[in-house]
Symmetry: C2
């Protein structure tokens, strides 16, 4: 394969190994050498691509939520689309553990907390603007979505609180959808209405 | 003052100091000696009351949510009552940092995560049962309340995501209330309705 493509494969392997190491051993317990061993490459390659453990950590928590283009969706279904997307991002085929790693890290690392802020501000705000227009409530709506999405992730993947932790993913989507819809398009601070919400589509696959 | 009362005062001083130490230095960075110094007492007293650092930690994360008796409240206002109570518990006069400590600890300590599960299961379940009756959805409703309450606490007090982090506490209560109400009494998994929700009372004091 061409050089740049091979370089991309190596970077991906390093990041995957780094996420596993940081997730299991924490920042302090992770070494460049350990990451390199897990990726099956020479430590000097890790240093060449990421410069230092701090640089590697920064790259490892660089989360792309991969939010879908919601312009074609009916506004009343965006809550369900977003709920399904987040659940799949945490635990479906697209899951890479990076969101859980970022969540765990953000509790103790100011850098990771700042990254979390950026991830939601940059990636979720356009969804809010697309569905609810840009206005004085845009930032509130975005971060209310964050409170519910991160609260579910915390209880399901970190604290493992039953029954949220063992719930079928389709049920979880069903339960989150109306609340995300409310935060996106509802009258904030008023009793939630069903004015512009539609039933949740049952298109999510069961958990693996 | 009588012996038992003096003993109670000493225990409280030790727990307050322990919560501060665990919160700022983490479990590994906290010592019995440090806690005793902060409480202004002899380390042997800490050992006498709590036996070990593990025993002290266990006592320090023993959270009493102090949930109000909601039997006299109209069912449609319990979401608002609960939202106001949690916000005051985290940051009002009753705040002692123990919930934030438990939240931070639970991310890395299985014992603290288990305690978090117990706190919500034992203390929030009776509220759910009182307002919605006991049924197959009781555990789901309880833990959905946990996802939203802990998600807000995480974003506001740990990650400090703006604007949730700097929002007026009365606004925060106003925003959380309809969602808690939905999780308590709403038709789960269906678009949220305002059928049994009432407007949020504006009786919370501004943040200090």
């Amino acid at each position: 394969m061409p050089f740049t493509e091979r370089s991309e494969v190596t970077r991906s392997a390093i990041l995957l190994a780094a996420r596993r190491c940081f997730a299991s051993a924490g920042y302090a317990g992770t070494t460049i050498r350990g990451v390199a061993a897990q990726a099956g490459i020479d430590p000097s390659m890790v240093m060449r691509y990421y410069g230092s453990k701090a640089g590697l950590f920064s790259a490892a928590i660089d989360v792309d939520l991969g939010l879908p283009d919601i312009h074609a969706e009916p506004p009343g279904r965006i809550g369900a689309v977003l709920a399904r997307h987040f659940v799949e991002r945490w635990e479906g085929e697209a899951a890479d553990g990076v969101l859980v790693l970022l969540l765990r890290s953000a509790v103790t690392s100011p850098e990771a907390a700042e990254r979390m802020r950026e991830v939601f501000a940059k990636q979720v705000t356009p969804v809010v603007v697309a569905v609810a227009g840009d206005g004085p409530e845009t930032a509130e709506r975005t971060m209310l979505v964050a409170t519910q999405v991160l609260g579910v992730a915390l209880c399901r993947h970190v604290l493992r609180l039953p029954p949220v932790a063992m719930m079928d993913s389709s049920r979880l989507v069903e339960l989150m959808a109306p609340v995300l819809q409310h935060y996106l398009t509802g009258p904030l601070g008023s009793p939630v209405t069903s004015a512009d919400a539609a039933p949740v589509p049952s298109v999510i696959s069961p958990p693996g």
